[in-house]
């Protein structure tokens, strides 16, 4: 298993963002769904080794990220696209991706080819020498994806990756992560259920910091039978699980 979480919690002051989550995820594309404030981003940041858990155990790529040496090894094999992508406006696309390839400690001789490949994969080859300040929001999102995949990660964490992408790019992106999911574990955190339905082999739904559903997209769809809110079967499943979760909390 590339991700093993056991009773993981993360608190910020009195706010419990992640509450007793246990997960085991292997290779493939894993969708993390949930409404705003469900704890998806906090969970993803823990998986990205940005945050340590307040309690519980986290094992990534069969290593303990709490140990500095193991954390460094994990980070070499990690790709992460945060929800809010920060960038340096004066860097070009290629330079930004190269910068992160270097920080991920890729062997120097592999960097040029890896950068070129990553830039091509997000279809930014013609804009490789463009400064980031000149790019649109969607293009910047693709730059963020490029830096995340430049090191050929075994664990790829994408927080709202399709936000700002046009429909054509969104389709291309889904193809890309399906390719990547052949060998790596790709965790896609999103509130756009159509992304999950077409690209993910497995999905978890979070609410109030807890995982309230785990299964395949088809199983989530099945949960929506009889539920009327939602435009697609998957959305109805998503709504049904959330409604049931809220009822349970209220009870």
């Amino acid at each position: 298993m590339n991700i093993e979480l056991t009773d993981v919690t993360r608190t910020f002051g009195r706010n419990k963002a992640v509450d007793g989550v246990s997960l085991a995820v292997g290779p493939g594309v894993f969708g993390l769904l949930g409404p705003n404030g469900a704890g998806k981003t906090s969970l993803l940041r823990m998986l990205a080794t940005v945050l340590p858990p307040s309690s519980g155990t986290v094992r990534l790529l069969d290593k303990d990220p709490g140990r500095p040496a193991a954390r460094t090894q994990i980070r070499r094999r990690l790709g992460y696209l945060p929800q809010n992508l920060g960038y340096y406006p004066s860097f070009t696309v290629a330079e930004f991706v190269e910068y992160f390839a270097l920080l991920k400690e890729m062997p120097a001789h592999q960097v040029p080819k890896a950068v070129a490949a990553a830039v091509e994969q997000v279809d930014l080859g013609p804009r490789a020498k463009a400064r980031l300040r000149t790019l649109s929001g969607g293009m910047l999102r693709r730059v963020g994806i490029a830096q995340a995949i430049v090191n050929g990660p075994d664990l790829l964490l994408l927080d709202e990756p399709t936000a700002g992408l046009d429909p054509e790019q969104r389709v291309a992106f889904r193809t890309l992560i399906r390719d990547l999911g052949q060998r790596a574990t790709v965790v896609v955190s999103t509130h756009l259920v159509e992304d999950v339905g077409t690209a993910c082999s497995e999905v978890a739904l979070m609410a109030e910091g807890k995982v309230v559903f785990r299964g395949t997209p088809d199983e989530l769809t099945a949960q929506g039978e009889g539920h009327e809110i939602g435009d697609s079967p998957l959305e109805r499943g998503y709504g049904a699980v959330l409604a049931a979760s809220r009822k349970q909390v209220a009870a």
């Binding site: 940005v50 090894q73 290629a94 920080l103 400690e105 830039v119 091509e120 830096q147």
Partner: protein, 530 residues
């Protein structure tokens, strides 16, 4: 788990600049160099350098030590202020650009990443500083006639700029905020201002001054003594202490960087690895030790008029030895010689001296040569040979002196001052250390001789007292001792001088040949002048 193959289709983009480099650090540095904000402020730095340092250096005499004082003075001050401000700005980049999360997931430790950014900033600032040094040194090399560029001030300046970058960067990293950069720049400027003021006070004090402020003397503008570095080597003692102090600051601050938090990460975060913590603690300890040692060494510094500040523990005995030199001379009948470092002033010295020497040529005791000596020792040949000794200390008149450039030195003030000193020296005899000054008769003769060569009345005490009118009795004068003792007023001296001046040249020479010894010994009075 193996790496994922990422190239389902052939790559179209292969920029030529993606040449493999051996080291990731070199490649990362290259990116930081290229995007450093220092590049954008280089025009401002160049303008400040021109206004502040270049013009100051150009106004100084073309001797290496004096010109080099600018590079550790005003040049270092404004460079370090800007360096600290820019470094603080750069250090807040991750917070401003919200890249903290993204960078926190990379394998390279934050300290190494930040050190790369700091190195790029410091590199540009040091490069700009060195360019300024090169301009000043090239300008000096084209004008200087002796000696070579001192390198210790350059080392001090480089270390000062690097340490300023480290100060700013550490502040920006540990205390990130929108106003961190301007606050740091103002704080560094205030620190320099206070330090320079303290060092100026030390320089103005007596020889009993404390040494710790010697760490700041480099920034006070210029050496106290223009002869330092000309007649004696400048010992590198203070420079060594300064480099140690600033190197310690640099090392200590680098050691503090791992303590910085990841921007945007609230609450509990991953602790740094033990090895990094140990290395950082060792860096801080070594930095504090180096700075403390430098401070302690500076506490033992003492001031020497010939060589400047000396620190006994660092002093090399060879530095106390005079620097050998061969005088540069001009003239045939009367030679005027000058230290080769001041060769550009030879014309300014020679012209008025030749004129004055011609007036007394052939008289017994008239000098056949004028030689420059260091201003802090008694003339080596005074009173025994006919050599007129002068120094950089003596030859300062009006706005002109050896502190000015040769072009500025060649003014009427300068030339008349040179002639006054020369004629007074001749009439009174080579000055003794405890000489009471010229007698009224000597003054009258000197005034007459100077008048013959077109020089004005010298600034003898009774002539320069604003309350003393010609004709007033000496009893009312509170001026020079000789005038008071002899009972001669300025009017009496002027009248006697006029009488002596009205003699024919042959008569003056004849009288001086016969009476010079008596005149110098004080046995000839004003009334005995022809």
């Amino acid at each position: 788990m193996t790496a994922v193959a990422l190239t389902p289709r052939p790559a179209r983009f292969r920029p030529a600049r993606f040449r493999p480099a051996r080291f990731r650090t070199v490649r990362a540095l290259r990116l930081e160099f290229k995007h450093s904000p220092v590049v954008r402020v280089l025009p401002i730095l160049a303008a400040l350098f021109y206004v502040n340092a270049y013009r100051t250096a150009a106004g100084f005499p073309p001797t290496w030590t004096v010109r080099a004082s600018v590079i550790t003075g005003s040049n270092l001050v404004f460079f370090s202020v800007i360096a600290a401000g820019i470094a603080a700005w750069v250090a807040t980049r991750e917070g401003r650009r919200q890249t903290g999360d993204l960078l926190a997931t990379t394998a390279r430790v934050a300290w190494a990443r930040q050190a790369t950014v700091l190195a790029a900033t410091a590199f540009w600032m040091v490069l700009a500083y060195l360019a300024g040094v090169a301009v000043i040194y090239i300008q000096t090399a084209r004008q200087a006639t002796w000696g070579g560029p001192p390198l210790w001030p350059v080392a001090v300046g480089v270390m000062g700029v690097a340490a300023s970058c480290a100060v700013g960067f550490t502040c920006g990293t540990l205390l990130p905020g929108r106003f961190t950069a301007p606050i740091v720049a103002v704080a560094v400027f205030a620190a320099w201002f206070a330090g320079v003021a303290a060092a100026n006070n030390v320089n103005n004090a007596s020889n009993g001054m404390k040494g710790t402020s010697a760490l700041l003397v480099a920034a006070t503008g210029r050496p106290q003594n223009i002869d330092v570095g000309v007649y004696y080597h400048v010992p590198p003692d203070v420079s060594i202490a300064q480099v140690m102090l600033m190197g310690g600051v640099l090392l200590g601050l680098l050691g503090l960087l791992p303590a910085a938090r990841v921007p945007g990460v609230r609450g509990l975060s991953f602790a740094a690895g033990r090895r990094l913590t140990v290395v950082a603690a060792a860096g801080v300890a070594c930095g504090v030790a180096a700075s403390a040692t430098a401070f302690a060494l500076a506490g033992t510094a003492r001031y020497s008029f010939t060589t400047g500040w000396e620190i006994p523990a660092l002093l090399d005995a060879a530095d106390d030895q005079p620097v050998p030199y061969t005088l540069d001379c001009t003239g045939s009948v009367f030679k005027v010689c000058i230290h080769p470092a001041f060769e550009p002033y030879l014309g300014a010295m020679s012209a008025p001296l030749q004129l004055a020497a011609a007036e007394i040529a052939g008289l017994p005791g008239a000098p056949v040569r004028a030689e420059m000596t260091t201003g802090n020792t008694l003339p080596a040949v005074a009173g025994t040979t006919s050599v007129y000794d002068y120094s950089t200390e003596q030859e300062g008149f009006g706005d002109a002196s050896f502190w000015a450039t040769p072009a500025i030195a060649r003014t009427a003030d300068w030339e008349q001052g040179v002639q006054e000193d020369f004629i007074t020296w001749f009439v009174s005899g080579p000055a003794e250390q405890d000489s009471p000054g010229p007698t009224p008769a000597e003054e009258a003769v000197a005034i007459a001789l100077l008048a013959k060569i077109g020089a004005p009345v010298p600034q003898y005490p009774q002539f320069s007292q604003p309350g003393t009118q010609p004709g007033a009795s000496s009893a009312s004068s509170t001026s020079g001792a000789s005038a008071t003792q002899s009972g001669a007023s300025a009017a009496q001296i002027t009248a006697a001088a006029s009488g002596f001046e009205s003699l024919s040249s042959a008569a003056r020479h004849a009288w001086l040949a016969a009476n010079l010894a008596g005149l110098r010994s004080g046995t000839i009075t004003l009334a005995q002048l022809p």
